[in-house]
Amino acid sequence: MKSVAHSVLNMAALRGASYADARLEQIRNRSLTTKNGRVGHASESETLGVGVRVIVDGAWGFAATADLDRESVEATTVRATEIARASARVKKQDVRLAVEKPAVAEWTTPYRIDPFTTSVEQNLEHLLKIDGEMRAVAGVTLAETGMNFQRDESWFVSSEGADIHQTKYSTGAGYTAYAFAGSEIQKRSYPNSFGGQWQNRGYEQIEELKLLENAGRVAEEAVALHKAEQCPEGVFTIILDGSQLGLQIHESIGHPIELDRVLGMEANFAGTSFLTLEKLGNLQYGSELVNVVADARQEHGPGLGTFAYDDEGVEAQCTPIISNGRFTGYLSSRETAHLVGASRSGGTLRAECWNRLPIIRMTNVSILPGEKPLSREQLIASTEHGIYMETNKSWSIDDKRYNFQFGCEIGWEIKNGKRARMLKNPSYSGITTEFWNSMDAICSRDEWVLWGTPNCGKGQPQQVVGTGHGASPARFRNVKVGTAYKGS
């Protein structure tokens, strides 16, 4: 690594770069799936390369190569400087970076069991047992399971003197039971849909997820949904489980607080944000119970957005985003921090891989649990009438992040504080700030889980990274329900 770093930094200086950094990264993945009693796929991948970022003539250039020979790395650095010079031909002002003390550090995700040391045979056996439990339920027409491990080792060096070596591990697992009958396909997933639960941990997470213990129940629910009544349309009190609330945070808080979106940098693809700069400190984003942080530090938990340093060498931080309902912070980078009057980056610049330019991404954007003890069952018991919804099925939000609609896999009507009939196809919709201002209860720490969203896409070329979202079940009043099926 040292020779690659020196090649980049020396050549960048020779070619007139006022700033340069190099990020050498090696990622190893293992992915295992099963489907209806057989292995779906078993695969491994490794990728290694270096991305070079430079500022020349006040503009950015980035080039990346998998070829780590000195000649190739130098040529890639020269290319980055040429690209920066081309960028400078269409610029309004020079790039300005917030001051950051160069860090020299070494860090590894705390883990108990390196997932890559576990036996593939046992991993598959575990998944096939789950698969068997699901297919033992009459009416299940498709059972799918999956397990994923990743090891991401990176070395970051900069012309300012940063030298950071990080190794991050993540694991994920989950499954879904499908039931097709008549003119309906219903499904139930555990622990979450679209890939299950993911965290930056070792294999110990898989052991703690109680995957096998829940397989039969989940499969039975998928089949039972066919006999459930359609979720009614109207305005209701709703309670969301933690995983659904995690996605609600992701879409209606996490994305709009990205400063690059706010500043128009994502206008062509991901969109902009309703959170224009004058709203900082002034907008009542939610009710007084809503407290949200963007926290990349290990003490927040092992989320997919947990690290020691971001991909431009800024130390992990906790930024208050919403404090007692008031909007208090954006996700920022060294380039954008000064635009909100900050003297330092919030440390949220992240890249998918060595071949991608780091951009502002969510870290762990989490709602803090309620301070008074409140379990999910107590929350339901305190609700006279409403609908409890669990596990995301569909999600959509406009390009400024105002209007959203979510569908869930399953719902239950709440009557007089008790779960009553099961409801199929529950959905709800609303306007972001109206929705968060309608939150009147949130469960306490015992119910709080740091959920992982492994598939967040953003940027051009698009980059997919994992984000974390701590949440516990919460209640919202006067929410529009059932619009997804209106008029169909």
């Binding site: 695969s43 950015w60 998998a66 940098m265 693809f269 105002y402 051009q460």
Partner: protein, 479 residues
């Protein structure tokens, strides 16, 4: 850039390192560059070069894959060992086929050459040559060339007092497949793409285009059109949601209809996860809907072989609104023939649409072409014939609400207009829709000549603009 000769040499080394019964290697190499602009300035500008060898080992009915982007002996040995060890621990799959021979991957050519009869079978699988999709002019584009084009787009924005954001990307790529039965196929291609958003104080407009040949991209016209949309949609008014006649420009049709093609594969039927379960052979859409998959279509792009090296065939999927058949990977076709659904799904044969093995999806059409209408209309003609309706430039964040009725939700974006008495009368606040694809394709009143369209939710297709009655908008947002 990785070339076929180098790939063949790497494959020979992999073959020597392998102890599996059979081995297959997929190669992907690319040089990709993208200049990104926003706020009338270039703010990101990137280039990368990479190549990956993805190795599949197969032994005794078990298969697995491992990939690497380093081609020294040690890295390749490690990937070979990983693929073999992942395969060895599995139970044998009695449905796993041997890897195809070179003859099998092109076998349909000979069969079809002797097929004289008209009708579905012959039309479905005519052998035709793929067009050249590599253009030196595209590969030669430099960062300075891209900056010059961006400068012109910014100039158009500033002239109209707008702010612009977008991209100009160029790439050259290679894709190849080799296997131990002697298969060796290679495809190279270039692609140039421009996407432009123009932003006013309370409005926006958008256009996007791509082509293997950069000379087909008219960035200035895209920018002018996006700017006109931003200007004409300024001061958007709010109207109540409900069922409206809509005129969907090709990008909107693309992103909406693209969702259904994941269900047009044999494995989706076998898994009972397709909205075509129990519906193949039925008239599901309007009489005016014809859809085929054709990698050789002059407006299409991509390689002429699938994830196992099978030649991609031309397949007629929908004729006069009737779903005729779905596409198949080799293994899926063999399974379908033995299944309880065999008599109900139309023609069953490997069509060259499989994903790389092993996978859970099976296959899907990826070179979709909508048939031309009998009496094509331009968007302007559709507007002129509309008493009251909504013109939609683009759809956004489309997700599936109901997998069998194929209800999709999403938003309009970047240019939504009210049409009254045959004229565009101004911009509208954006809507959320919840609409069934089946209903939508049953309610098409007019279509344009199909064009190559590119969006953000679907793979590129050749689609027309469509005028659709009773499109279901359920909510309005705040802008």
């Amino acid at each position: 850039m990785l070339n076929q000769e180098r790939a063949a040499e790497i494959f020979e080394r992999i073959r020597r390192f392998a102890s599996a019964d059979e081995v297959e290697v997929l190669f992907n190499g690319s040089r990709f560059a993208l200049t990104r602009f926003a706020n009338n300035t270039i703010h990101q500008n990137v280039e990368e070069e990479n190549a990956v060898a993805s190795i599949r080992a197969s032994l005794g009915g078990r298969t697995a894959r491992a990939s690497a982007n380093k081609f020294d002996d040690e890295s390749l040995k490690r990937a070979v060992a990983a693929s073999e060890s992942l395969a060895r621990v599995q139970e044998a799959d009695p449905d796993l086929l041997p890897m195809p021979s070179p003859e099998e991957t092109d076998a349909d050519k000979n069969v079809r050459a002797t097929q004289k009869t008209a009708g579905e079978g012959a039309r479905a699988t005519q052998a035709r040559a793929t067009q050249n999709r590599f253009f030196a002019q595209t590969a030669a584009i430099t960062p300075a060339d891209r900056a010059e084009v961006v400068g012109k787009i910014v100039g158009i924005a500033e002239k109209r007092k707008l702010t612009t954001a977008g991209i100009f990307s160029t790439s050259e790529s290679a894709e190849g497949i080799f296997n131990s039965r002697g298969l060796s196929k290679w495809h190279t291609q270039t692609l140039a793409e421009v996407s432009v958003t123009m932003l006013g104080a309370d409005s926006s407009g958008w256009q996007k285009s791509n082509s293997p040949d950069v000379r087909n991209i008219d960035a200035a016209t895209l920018a002018e059109t996006a700017a006109r949309k931003a200007v004409e949609s300024a001061g958007p008014r709010e109207i109540a949601p409900g069922k409206y006649t809509v005129i969907l420009e090709p990008a909107a049709v693309l992103d909406f209809t693209g969702f259904m093609f994941w269900d047009f594969g044999g494995l989706a039927i076998l898994d009972q996860r397709s909205f075509l379960n129990d519906r193949i052979g039925t008239k599901l859409f309007g009489e005016n809907i014809n859809i085929e998959d054709d990698v050789c279509h002059p407006l299409q792009s991509g390689s002429p072989f699938d994830g196992e090296g099978m030649r991609r065939q031309r397949v007629s999927l929908v004729e006069k609104g009737v779903v005729k058949r779905v596409v198949y990977a080799r293994g899926t076709a063999a399974k379908m023939k033995k299944s309880e659904y065999a008599a109900k799904v139309g023609s069953i044969e490997a069509t060259g649409h499989g994903f790389a093995l092993p996978n859970e999806i099976g296959e899907m059409p990826q070179n979709v072409v909508f048939g031309p209408p009998a009496n094509p209309q331009t968007v302007e003609q559709m507007v002129a014939s509309t008493e009251r309706g909504i013109l939609v430039t683009r759809l956004w964040y489309i997700r599936e609400v109901d997998p069998y009725e194929k209800i999709l939700t999403g938003m309009t974006r970047d240019g939504t207009f009210l049409v009254e008495k045959g004229k565009i009368v101004g911009g509208l606040r954006n809507f959320r829709f919840n609409e069934s694809l089946i209903s939508m394709l049953s309610n098409v009143e007019a279509m344009s000549v199909p064009v190559r369209a590119s969006g953000e939710e679907s793979f590129d297709m050749v689609v027309p603009a469509m005028k659709v009655k009773a499109f279901n908008f359920t909510e309005v947002t705040k802008f």
